[in-house]
Subunit: 404 residues, 2 copies
């Protein structure tokens, strides 16, 4: 076992359970006698190069448990994507502070940072154990059954669509909501888990794994309106045309061409608004509403999967166990072992770093606008216990008197 300090940091977008992983690292690391102190970096890799460290051996176990239950990154995060030079700066600081164990909780970019720092340490012959701990609501890390943060965000999306479908049934029309996930459609697909009855929405689901054609989309919406008199649509923010160009740009260009002016498309509500305009303009429906779930889906307080919480805790704890009792740097991954149970494996950093997973074909229906039962089987156990359920009145119709 290496002797020295432990450093833990958080990178990228916050999740509902990312603090569980930090608590897992800190509480486990504090048990080991070869650990001098446990530091937390303030705002990820940016905090490391700035030497902004918190001494987490001064933090009470009780408060760590409270923080673990609090969403978003308690150590602060960063959008910095370190290049080689940046990673060399990181390594310099780690050495200066006598860090022997480096744990970084994050997604693709973060795992690549860990990989480069690990290489720098090896090249310099400095004894440093580097561990990547998975986290991302997009669920786009390879070699993982799923990633911590995704189940809670998926639960938020499923519950949102469950409610939106009830709202749309009460006041019929077209309802469309844009969900996060630029390259992987897992989170958008989670909207399907809000369905109960056969005529429930979302009736249409558009994923970045399939090419989006505006004309086809309008046809799908019309067919749904003809069938149900209402239509609930889930759209991934990452939908694109056959060239890979985002649909938001394509629609904005059309508007630009029409108006002979420049439109700044910087707001997050743009895609939903533009798709609604298409529906109103070309199909003529009056009641068309578009929402963009925005930041709520990754930071809403009070909608969390207990499965996600315990797994996020465990990947942190396992990272320390792999680091202390093992001989290799790596990325902790989640492997499904039953319906439902998981185990954790340490994978080489090169096998995970910088790679992007997208939805398997088996998860997407042939129509391209729905998910399969395989996906429902995959996702349901991740959402955890206490999922809300929606009930409706039975249609015991009364005979008409005036106009029978």
């Amino acid at each position: 076992m290496l002797h020295g300090k432990v450093l833990v940091a958080q990178g990228g977008g916050p999740t509902a359970v990312i603090n569980q992983s930090v608590a897992g690292v800190v509480l486990e690391a504090r048990k080991f006698r070869n650990v001098d102190l446990v530091y937390g970096a303030w705002h990820g890799v940016r905090g490391i190069v700035n030497e902004d460290f918190l001494d987490l051996t001064q933090e009470t176990s009780h408060n760590l448990e409270m923080v673990a239950d609090t969403p978003s990154s308690a150590l602060g995060s960063t959008r910095d994507k370190p290049d080689l030079k940046y990673c060399q700066e990181i390594f310099k600081v780690l050495k200066a502070h006598g860090i022997a164990y480096f744990f970084y909780v994050g997604g693709n970019d973060s795992s690549d940072t860990v990989r480069i720092v690990s290489e720098e340490a090896r090249k310099a012959g400095y004894p440093l154990r580097c561990m990547h701990i998975p986290k991302t609501i997009d669920n786009d890390l390879v070699l993982n059954d799923h990633t911590p943060g995704f189940p809670s965000a998926a639960r938020f999306v499923a519950q949102s669509f469950m409610g939106a479908n009830l709202d749309n049934a009460a006041l019929p029309g077209v309802y469309l909501a844009v969900v996060m996930g630029r390259h992987a459609g897992f989170l958008t697909a989670a909207s399907a888990l809000g369905k109960k009855f056969p005529d429930d929405g979302p009736h249409l689901i558009y994923l970045p794994e399939r090419t989006f054609k505006v004309e086809k989309f309008l046809g799908d919406v019309k067919a749904t309106m003809d069938k149900h008199g209402r239509c609930v649509v889930a759209v991934s923010e990452g939908i694109h045309d056959e060239t890979g160009a985002p649909i938001v740009t394509q629609l904005a260009k059309e508007v630009e061409k029409d108006a002979h002016g420049n439109i700044q498309l910087s707001g997050t509500g743009a895609l939903a608004d533009l798709l609604c305009d298409e529906i109103k303009g070309k199909l003529g429906y009056k009641r068309v509403r578009g929402d963009t779930f925005g930041y709520l889906q990754r930071s809403f307080v009070g909608c969390v999967s207990d499965v996600d919480q315990r797994e996020a805790r465990e990947v942190g704890e396992k990272a320390v166990q792999f680091a202390m009792w093992g001989q290799n740097d790596g990325s902790v991954t989640i492997q499904r072992t039953g319906f439902y149970s998981v185990d954790y494996k340490l994978m080489p950093l090169e096998a995970v770093a910088g790679k992007t997973r997208t939805m398997e074909d088996a998860f997407i229906s042939e129509s391209g606008t729905d998910v399969t039962d395989a996906f429902r089987m995959y996702l349901r156990p991740l959402l955890g216990k206490g999922m809300p359920d929606a009930f409706r009145l039975r249609l015991n119709n009364v005979p008409k008197v005036l106009n029978p």
Copy 2:
């Protein structure tokens, strides 16, 4: 006691607890021997004129309880605002079906419908008891301490800002979210209940009860950024200039003028996007994000106040009791009697119908961009039990080594 059928209907925008009121009416009304049958109108007053009725004496108590716990209007709703002629049609149908008791769950417009139908019955000498049951997430009904539906929506908004504040603290910048409430700022003001520590957001709250000036707004944002290095803003969708013109129109005009073209402003994300553009363009901050809570705040499944649930149930039950044991038509109102307890009073329909309550001055801080402790005392008990809490790590800083 009148002898005949009972009819219950739901109007206006759905809430998280509006089905509790229907369950309260149905379960209580089914106990009375002078009641022939209990009908529900399908999609509010529209369902009445179309004679689209469900026989709710065929519905199990168990399913009624399940539906009561389900958000949105289980009987369907409508945006129809009946005029005199429409109300005469309603009255004609009520008479034809032998309705002796009419219960309408809704807001301002719905109470006015009940008032007109009540007058028509009196003029015709037809024995009809008409009851308005309050409901609105806007909390804008006069003579009520608050209205069912508001507490659960307020809880959603408070929890949303609690999470958004944590997200913004992890990745600093400007975060702005637009909240429902065209004339009354109660729901936007509820964002303040997500605050815990003095530097928590929302740092700025813009209500329709105060005139919105874009220059002042930009100054407020800059001052907050200078002080905290980040800024969380809650904005009511109803903000307007001194002439009462919506800010979204004003900003859209500016953009139009700049671009020499036409921009269609039909999407719900427009106000947030335009305000973000102002901040980016005039203050130069890079990380500026705008969300619009949209339909989530009134129909999200799984964020409900238990206080709201029981009160929504009680106003339904009380409406039946007032109707059966009393001699007057009216509107059921909620009166606060303790910290925290309530009682219900029947008020004349004319006293409630068509009137709009806005936030009391005592609830708004002198700055106009925050709420007072009086508002916190007012709102906190309504949010119910089990409100989430946010915890942070204590700042036990580590001395720097390389750059001390």
